[in-house]
Every structure is written in structure tokens, then in C-alpha cells.
Amino acid sequence: MKPVTVRRLILVSLLIAWELVPRTGLLPELFLPSLSSTLAVLWKDGATYGHAVLVTLYEVALAMLIACGGGILAGATVGGLARVRKLLLPVFSSLYAVPIVILYPVFTAWFGVGSESKIAFAGIYAFFPVMLSTAAGIQTIDPQFLLAARSMGATLPQQIARVIIPASLPTVFAGLRLGGALAIIGVVVSEMLTAAAGIGYLVTLNRTILDSPRVFAAILLILLLSIAYYLASRAIEKRFVVWQSAGKPLQAVQQSAQSTV
């Protein structure tokens, strides 16, 4: 069987198990509400969940904007200028290891319990991988690429636009993908901690009143959100970084081309 088929089978059997395990009484509905009762809640409370998703999406979008914009800018500065790099890179790298969630209570004090504190926290949380991978992407550009560009008469703006940016794109994209995922995590976690709206808030709220189907409905939506994000980011990456998908077609081409060289 192909891996894709196996993956689909696993998914389907998980969904079936989700329905059957609570129904047959293997686990009480309080621990694991069945798929059908979860979906029923989603249907019934569609307006509530829809609004929560919109709030969360809004916060995620702004957090990503801050993280990607700031991360690329800071990463390009740190990666491109050796002096700044020596000064700041160790600081940023070690900050990356700090569990930034400890700052969240401070952010709620500064920005209140509304969306601003979530955006600020998730934005900073996602900033680091974007910044670090942008810096790495620029730093690891093959020096021959730039030497060749100069020998062909490229000006500095041309070197940046035509060589540095495309050459660092794959690494930058990897950082953006990770940063985006962290922005989602950051927003949901902060909504779960202190909030009055959003999907994470619905998880916490319904857990405290032991309404398991509603908790799982929210969890399901977060799952779908993350999967949608992953698929979208992959699609964008594929469009922009065609040349990175090297590998499989290579051997076939080489074999057919061997007679030429």
C-alpha cells in the first residue's frame, strides 16, 4: 500500500474510534465525547464558535505580521552586517530558549485582557524563529554566488534583489512556516490563560464547567486551523521555491542526459 493510502486509513480509523470508544462505554463521555456529539455542538453553537474563530484568526494574522515583518527585518540586519551579528546574535539565540510565556502576565498588565496582549505575546513568541532563520539564510549564502554577480557587473542593489533575496528564500520560508505555527500556538495559549474571547477562551471556559463536547469542538477547530495553515504555507513555499524541490527528477534527467556529456 502507498504511504498516502495508509495515512488516510489511519485518519479514518481514528475518526471511527473517536465515535465508537465513547459510544461503547470504553471511556465516559466526560473524558472523550463522541465525534457526533462534538459536531452537533459545533452545528448548534455555530455563531459562538464562528465569532471565536474570527477573533483568533484576527489575532493570529496580526501576530504573524509583527513576527514576519520584524523577524525578516531584524534577521536581515543581523545576518547581513557582521558587526551587528557579533553583537546581537548570541543574545537573540539565548533569548530563544527562554519560555516567553512567563512574559504573558506582564503583557496583560500592559495591554489588558483583550486582543492586544495576545497579539503582542504571540508576535514576540513567533519573532525568534523567523529572525534566526532569516539571519542564517543570509549568512549561509554561497560566497561564490556574490562573487559571480560582482564579476558580471551587478550593483549592490542588484546583488540584494537578484542574488541575496532569492538565495536566502528557502531558509526564510522554513522560518516563516515555524513562526506562523508558533503564532497560532501563542495566540491559543494566551487565550486559554486570560481572555474574554477566542477559541482558546472557549476551551478554558467549557472545561471549567465540565462541558466536554464544547471543549472538544474548540479543540477540533484549532486542529483544523493549524492544518489549514500548514497546507497554505506549503503551497506558497512550493510556488516560490521551485528549485528547492530537487531530488527525484534529478536522476531521471541525468540518465537521459548522460550521452550529452
Partner: protein, 261 residues
């Protein structure tokens, strides 16, 4: 030849690396127009540095370099084309786009459609010259090592510079491909009448390609021998088995060993 201006004129060239390490010492030589000159020498003797200075990519500490009668303080792709090892092809561009790259750096390429068509036509002519017709849409990772180097040569020739500098262009290739590429290079050279300065580690390659071989000493690099290769052209593989070829190769080898000691 005395009244004819040499393509390359170097006099009293010395270079001190980082203010303390002497890299090149008192190098003087001329390369007459249309000649194929090969520079060999032990690793780290400054062959590549010398080539970079000839390309205007690096400044020398002392002495003069004249290329077609004028100094070359910065890269001038219309006078001097440089061909690097295969790593310098841009992986995000197709073979044809790589060849067009130097043309596209010179103004108006994006706006002017007739200009673009002209670039495309010239790039395709170069592709044909290096024997890769039909491979223009391939990305570098879809090409074999030898084919990539053909694309590099095409890129170096596309602006039709009278002088071509080659920095170990075939070093990354296997022995057989290397021999084929050397032969191909001679074929291309004979149709374009360029002045070529070619740096290599391979003694066989040096004798096979050169009109004249310059042997450099270990650091600080000096020219310690100039060997005329009077084998007739066009060269063929059978010549490698001749006594003349063997004696020339042997003489270079003895000079390099002396230089390295």
C-alpha cells in the same frame, strides 16, 4: 609582436594579505591577444587571488595590471568574463535564465520587450554553442556536473568579452567528464578567438589546453617558469600519449615540486 598591445599586461604585481602575509611577489607577464594561458602551482600559491585581481574583483597591494590597455579597478564584464566552479550557477534560475543573467543586469531589461527578446536570442545562441540546445528550461539541479559547467561557460561568453578568466572550472568534475570538457572548451575557444587565462591543478589539463603554461611557486607566489606548449592545434587525445606531451608534463611537475619544497 612587440608593437602589438598585449591583452593582459602585468608588471611588478605584489600582494600582501591582511597587511602581513605576503601572497604574491613581483609578478610580471604579458598575455598576447587570443592566446590560451594556463597558470599552475601548488595549493595556496595565490593563483586564484591573481585571477581575482585580473577580474577587478580584488585590489593588489602593488604593481600594475592592464587589461586591453587600461587598468581594471573594478569588474568590467564587457572586457573580462569570469567562469567559476560550478557552485556559482544560480539554482533558482533555469539554464537559459542563468545565461541571460549578466545581460539582464544592464538596464531596461524588464520594460523593453525587444531588448528581452534579443537577450533570449543571444542566450539561446550561447546554449547552442556549448552543445546544450533543448536544455534551456532545466534548473541546475536537473543537469549533470559537465552540463552545469557548459552553462557556466555560456554565461561567461554571452557578453562577448575579449578576455575570459577561468578559475579551476572543471575541478569538481570526474576525470572523464573533465577530459571531454577540456576538449569542448578548446572547440569553443577556437570559434571565438578569446584571450583565456585558465587556472588549474591538473598538469595534463594544463598541457592539453595551453599555448603557454605559467608555473607559480608556493606562497608568496612568483612565476618561476614559463613553458611554451608547441603541440599543434586542434589538439586531440592521442597527443597525450606522445613523448613531447610527457616531457612537458614532466617539466611542469618538477618545477612545482621544487616550488613546493
Amino acid at each position: 609582436m612587440a608593437d602589438v598591445m598585449p591583452a593582459i599586461h602585468i608588471e611588478g604585481l605584489s600582494h600582501v594579505y591582511g597587511g602581513t602575509v605576503p601572497a604574491l611577489k613581483d609578478i610580471s607577464f604579458d598575455v598576447p591577444a587570443g592566446r590560451f594561458t594556463v597558470i599552475v602551482g601548488p595549493s595556496g600559491c595565490g593563483k586564484t587571488s591573481l585571477l581575482m585581481m585580473l577580474a577587478g574583483l580584488r585590489a593588489q597591494s602593488e604593481g600594475t595590471i592592464h587589461c586591453l590597455g587600461r587598468p581594471i579597478p573594478e569588474p568590467d564584464p564587457l572586457r573580462v568574463g569570469v567562469i567559476f566552479q560550478e557552485a556559482s550557477l544560480y539554482p533558482w534560475l533555469t539554464a537559459l535564465e542563468n545565461i541571460e543573467f549578466p545581460l539582464s543586469l544592464r538596464g531596461g531589461a524588464l520594460k523593453d520587450h525587444s531588448n528581452r527578446a534579443e537577450h533570449r536570442r543571444r542566450a539561446e545562441a550561447m546554449l547552442e554553442l556549448v552543445g546544450l540546445t533543448g536544455f534551456g528550461a532545466r534548473y541546475p539541479h536537473e543537469l549533470s556536473g559537465g552540463m552545469k559547467q557548459r552553462v557556466s561557460i555560456a554565461r561567461g561568453l554571452v557578453q562577448d568579452p575579449p578576455v575570459l578568466l577561468m578559475d579551476e572550472p572543471f575541478a569538481a568534475l570526474d576525470e572523464q567528464t573533465r577530459m571531454t570538457m577540456g576538449h569542448e572548451l578548446l572547440r569553443i575557444w577556437s570559434t571565438t578567438s578569446k584571450t583565456v587565462v585558465f587556472v588549474t591543478h591538473s598538469l595534463t589539463e594544463a598541457v592539453y589546453l595551453a599555448d603557454e603554461v605559467l608555473v607559480m611557486s608556493a606562497r608568496p607566489g612568483r612565476i618561476i617558469d614559463r613553458i611554451q606548449v608547441d603541440l599543434p592545434r586542434p589538439r586531440n587525445y592521442e597527443m597525450m600519449a606522445t613523448d613531447v606531451f610527457g616531457r612537458l608534463r614532466d617539466r611542469i611537475w618538477r618545477q612545482i615540486r621544487k616550488a613546493d619544497a
